[in-house]
Structures are given as C-alpha cells and as structure tokens.
C-alpha cells in the first residue's frame, strides 16, 4: 500500500505539473478573453503560438540539458550568432539557402559539441562552460561582423525563408507546424526511446547511470549539441520572422527559456521534467506578455506584473515537496 502510494507520489506529480502548466496557459487565455474579447480567438491564438515557438525551440534544448542537471547559458549569443551567420551566408539569395542553413545549424551543433566536451570530458561545471561560451560567441559575432556593420550583415533572409509564418498548413502557420513537429520528436525521444531513459537516468543519478553501463559522457555531449542546434534553429526562425538580424536578438531567450522549463514542471536539479510541460511554459509566458501589452500597461508595469504572475503561478502548483 505504502509502495503504491510512494510510486504514485513519484510518478503523479510530474504529469500533474504538465496538466497544471497547460491549465495556467488556458487560464491566461480566459482572463484575456474576458478583458479583450477575441484574445482567445483563432487569430490571436495563432499569433501567440507563433511567438511562443521561438521560446519553445530554445526551451527544447534547455529542457534536455536541465534534465541531466546541466544548464545552457550560451543560448543568447548562439541564437544571435546563428541569425547573423544565416543572413551573411544566405545574402538574400534562395540559391544560397541550403548552404546557409547547413552552416548555421552546423555552427549550433559545433558550439553545443564544445560545451558538451567541456562539461563531460574536461569536467568544467556547466554554468562556467556555457557562460564562457556565451562570451566567446558574443565576441566572435560582434568581432567578425564588425559590430553588425559589415556589408553582408544588412542582407535579408533568403526569400524562401522570409515570412514562412504566413504559409499555413491546415490553417496553422508553418513555423508553428515546425514547433509541433519538434515537440512530438522531443517528447517521443524522451518518453519512448532508450536515449530518453538514459537521459532521465543520468539526471537522477549520474554515478548509478554510469554503473548501469550508460555512456554518460557521450549522452551529455549529444544533449548539449541538441541544445546548440535548437538555439541556432530559433535564431533562423527569428530572422525568417523579422527579415533581418539584429544585435541583442537572443538576450530575452536565456531567462525565458529557463522560466518556461521550470514553469513546465522540470526540476533545475535534473531527472524530472518533460518537454510537453516546457512547451506549455513557453505558451504561458508569451500569452502573459501579449496580454500585458494589450492592456496598455507601461513598460515598468508589465515587467512587475510579469514577475508577480510567474510567482503566483508557481505558488499555485510549482512548490517542492516538504523535506
């Protein structure tokens, strides 16, 4: 009986938190609908999902590394660097698009590889490795693009990539379709593959995972590579959305991605969490910001209400168990 209760206690809260996270998102839509009729309507939801897809993509990588007790602080400038790399190699020409995409995503994977090797093989704490890497990427992005004053830096995204959010599949913007595909892929990988099992095992107890024959270092490197990949992908999507690269593009996504992951029910210490939850966290955050903008609240008020709402949501369902 106690064993069953314990098993329920171990399993239950994770799924419950995902449900709560979606509940929070729905609650914000409902509040919005009351204050602004149409907020929960098709157009508005479509826009919010579109904007949430950027946070959502970054949060996919962040979820993977947080699940093993790591963290990726290199998000802002991997994303920003990817945006700059895409426009400077694409030069606004469709013919150059495949090469530009390959280079940009390859850069994300390479940076993630360096992060992973540093963390897993050299033993650098994840905070240090990825914080240092963020600086390295910032310096390289600024230096190589001469502070985004280079001639190629003003290029637009290749036309094929521009405004892909306007193309729809069954009424859903292609960008959101991509995010849904990523959500399904990450959820399946984490929930139904040996790789996913290994990831959770490492997060729960790296030593036990190692003794169970899991190649902890290799899995760690792969997870950081995926995080770099998703940051670069988000950078590409932001350029496609905005048309051009800019400096500081990635800055909001570090804390937002971490917040989305934790609101989605993951533990920052690793071993617990799902990407479905993180996706709900991303939607909640973006819906909240959109609602606050619609309310005509000045910037300082939005910032304060944003913080207070995150706290209020977490007080409702995000509390850790008593010791």
């Amino acid at each position: 009986m106690t064993a069953i209760a314990a098993a329920f206690g171990n399993l239950g809260p994770i799924r419950r938190r995902v449900i709560y996270a979606y509940g929070a998102a729905i609650a914000i839509f409902l509040v919005g609908q009351v204050l602004h009729p149409g907020f929960a309507g098709g157009d508005s939801v479509r826009t919010i999902l579109l904007v949430a897809s950027f946070v959502g993509l970054v949060a996919a990588g962040q979820t993977l590394v947080i699940l093993i007790g790591g963290i990726d602080l290199s998000v802002p400038w991997v994303l920003n660097g990817a945006a700059i790399l895409l426009v400077t190699t694409g030069l606004g020409q469709n013919g150059r698009l495949p090469e530009a995409l390959a280079l940009t995503l390859g850069m994300g994977l390479a940076v993630g590889f360096a992060n992973g090797v540093g963390v897993a093989y050299v033993g650098v704490p994840a905070v240090v490795m990825t914080l240092g890497m963020n600086g390295i990427m910032q310096g390289l992005s600024l230096g190589l693009s001469q502070g985004l004053t280079c001639q190629a830096c003003t290029s637009y995204a290749p036309p094929l990539l521009q405004h892909i959010e306007l193309n729809t599949v069954l009424g859903i913007p292609e960008q959101v379709v991509l995010w849904i595909a990523v959500t399904i892929a990450v959820t399946v990988v984490l929930g139904a593959t040996a790789f996913g099992r290994r990831t959770y095992a490492i997060g729960n107890n790296p030593t036990a995972a190692f003794l169970a024959g899991i190649r902890v270092k290799r899995v760690t490197v792969i997870l950081y590579m995926l995080s770099g990949f998703f940051s670069a992908l988000a950078g590409i999507m932001l350029v496609s959305y905005g048309g051009q690269a800019s400096l500081g593009l990635g800055d909001p996504y570090l804390f937002q991605s971490i917040a989305a992951v934790v609101i989605g029910g993951a533990s920052i210490l690793g071993g617990r969490g799902t990407y479905l939850g993180s996706a709900a966290g991303a939607i909640t955050l973006v819906a909240l910001v959109t609602l606050l903008s619609a309310e005509n609240i000045p910037e300082y008020g939005r910032s304060i209400v944003y913080g207070v709402t995150i706290l209020a949501l977490l007080l409702l369902y995000g509390r850790e168990r008593r010791h």
């Binding site: 602080l73 540093g118 050299v122 033993g123 650098v124 704490p125 905070v127 240090v128 490795m129 914080l131 240092g132 890497m133 963020n134 600086g135 390295i136 990427m137 910032q138 310096g139 390289l140 600024l142 230096g143 001469q146 502070g147 804390f255 971490i258 917040a259 934790v262 609101i263 533990s267 920052i268 910037e299 300082y300 008020g301 939005r302 910032s303 304060i304 209400v305 944003y306 913080g307 207070v308 995150i310 706290l311 977490l314 007080l315 995000g318 509390r319 850790e320 168990r321 008593r322 010791h323």
Partner: protein, 339 residues
C-alpha cells in the same frame, strides 16, 4: 571545513609539512583564485609598462578599485547564496533599483545622503527577504524565484527613473568612489575583514553547514530555514550597496546598468573558486575574482584588442582559468596519493 583559519599549530611529533599540505589542499580553490589574480596582475603590469613606459601607481590602483567595487559587493552577495546551493539572478535588478533611487531621490545634503543610503539598503534587504521567504517557505526553486523578482525589481527601477539621468551629489561620490583619494581601498580591506568575521560567526558557520549537507545541518540543530532566508536578505542588501557604489562612480543613474552584473557576479564567483555544489568557497576568492575580471578588461585594452572581441577573450579566459585550476588541483591530489 575548508578554511585557512583552521591552520592550527602542529602538535609535537606531527609533520609540519603534512599539515601545510593539508591546509593548502583544503584551500586549493582559494589559492588558485589568488594565483589567477596574480597572473592577471602580472599581465596587466607588463602591458601597462609597454604602453606607458611606467608602472601603475596609486592612481591606477584607486581607479581599479573604484571600478571593481560594485562587482565586489554583487559577487559577495552571490557568494553567500551560492554557498547554500542557491543562485540569485535578481542582483542585477536590485542594483538597477538602488542605482535609480539614488539618482532620483538623493539631494546634496548630508542628511539626505545618509537617509537615502539607509532607505535603499533597507529596500535591498526587503527584496532579498522576499526572495528568501519564497525559496524557503513557499519552496520554490531559487533560479525561478530570482528570475521573477529580477523582473519586478527591473520594473520598479524603470518606474523610479524612466530615463537615464538624475544626479549623485559630488560629496557622495568623493566618499564612496573618490578618484583622487584611495578611499576605495579602505572599503576593499573592510569587506575582507567583514568576510573573516562572517566566516567565524554562527551565521557564517550555519551558511557553510547548510551548503555542505542541509539534512545533517538540521540534525545538528542549525536553523536551516532561517539561515537561508538571511542569506538571500544579505545578498539583497549587498546588491543595493553595489548599486550605490555604481551610482557614485557613474555620478548619475540608469535603470538598466545593473543588469550586466547578473552574469558578471556569477563569473566572479566562478573565478573565486566558490563551488556551485555549495558549502565550499571564500568571499576573499570572490573579491579576487572581481578584481581579475576588471584587470582583464584593462589588459585587453592595453594589449590593443579590438573592443568588439572583448567578450571573446573574457569567455576564453574564464574557461581556461577553470580548466587549468582543476588540472592543477588534480595534480595536487595525485601528488598526495603518490606520497
């Protein structure tokens, strides 16, 4: 616990060398952070000399300390929180708020300067207390609590000072960050002494105990919850003080200048050898880490590095310093086993 203060004289018959090896091993991260500072200082002197033909004097030392003081206070706040296995991302927001309040409200009278310094430090304590209560009694994860309060503090800062500006009384600047008198060095010395006092106080001992093993600390009768709340409160106060020093050296206010100190304070803590696993580290290391970061900026400047690449070298330096440090520490351990 790892601390130089425990270097008791060896009883007769005990190998003094062994005692010293033990002490140096226990303090390896602190010693490494001081060595990194020494190395960076060496680089700084070399590049300074090749640029100016002279050696850095008291003016350079004073301006170095003036520039570093805000980071020193922010890093010390971060240190006490990290020692309990937490993290405080709201330091940047609290510095914004403190900075803005000082620039908007402080008048050029002694009474106003004292009053507003006290009010701002009290606000820092209140903000930190809020963090601590949410982490301890609401049982929320520190990183998320402080992301949320960061946003709240940033919002309040912009409400207080919507546009950069305001003014800091010149008398205030001359007391806190006087460019002509080495007052800032006195603050650095005071901070180090305060650290030693903290380390020996029951609060300090409780902080380390909580970070080492929370359950064991509780079993030993340490008030774990109260200690954690106090640690966040202290961090908020130190961030507010950091904001005051920042305002004094800038002589005006800006509601966003504190934000860079979030990641900078973490970098200083890392270079100071404070463990993110909690329970290990020294405030002296954090001060050394803060100075290392400022010196590095000067080194890059004198080396004629394109400022656009500054972050690249800082990032590379951070990782290299930690990798080398870990390597040296490993060699030290191997040496001991080999004996």
């Amino acid at each position: 616990m790892a601390s130089a203060e425990h270097a008791v004289p060896a009883p007769p018959g005990v190998d003094r060398g062994a005692v010293w090896r033990h002490v140096s091993l226990q303090n390896a991260p602190l010693i490494l952070s001081l060595l990194i500072l020494l190395g960076t200082t060496g680089l700084y002197i070399v590049f300074f000399n090749s640029n100016t033909g002279g050696l850095p004097g008291s003016f350079e030392l004073t301006s170095l300390a003036n520039t570093t003081l805000p980071l020193i206070f922010a890093a010390l706040g971060q240190t006490v929180v990290v020692l309990t296995r937490g993290i405080d991302l709201s330091v940047g927001g609290m510095m914004d708020l403190s900075n803005s309040l000082a620039a908007a409200e402080m008048h050029a009278t002694l009474g106003s300067e004292l009053l507003w310094s006290a009010i701002i430090i009290a606000i820092g304590a209140a903000g930190g207390l809020l963090n601590g209560l949410l982490v301890v009694y609401a049982r929320l994860q520190p990183i998320l609590v402080t992301i949320a309060t960061l946003s709240i503090f940033q919002g309040l800062a912009i409400a207080v000072l919507p546009q950069p500006g305001g003014a800091i009384p010149s008398a205030y600047t001359s007391v806190l960050t006087n460019p002509n008198q080495p007052t800032s060095l006195a603050y650095v010395a005071f901070v180090m002494l305060a650290w030693v006092a903290f380390r020996r106080s029951s609060f300090g001992i409780a902080t380390f105990a909580v970070g080492n093993d929370q359950d064991a600390a509780r079993a030993r009768g340490i008030a774990v919850d109260r200690t954690k709340v106090l640690v966040y409160t202290l961090s908020g106060m130190l961030a507010a003080i950091a904001g005051l020093f920042l305002a004094a050296s800038a002589t005006a206010g800006d509601a966003t200048t504190g934000d860079v100190y979030i990641l900078q304070s973490i970098a200083a803590v890392v270079l100071g050898g404070i463990s993110f696993a909690g329970g290990r580290g020294s405030g002296v290391g954090a001060v050394a880490g803060a100075f290392t970061l400022t010196l590095l900026v000067n080194v890059l400047f004198f080396a004629g590095i394109n400022p656009l690449y500054q972050q690249f070298y800082q990032g590379l330096f951070l990782i290299t310093a930690i990798v080398l440090g870990a390597g040296i520490a490993r060699l030290g351990r191997v040496g001991r086993i080999g004996r």
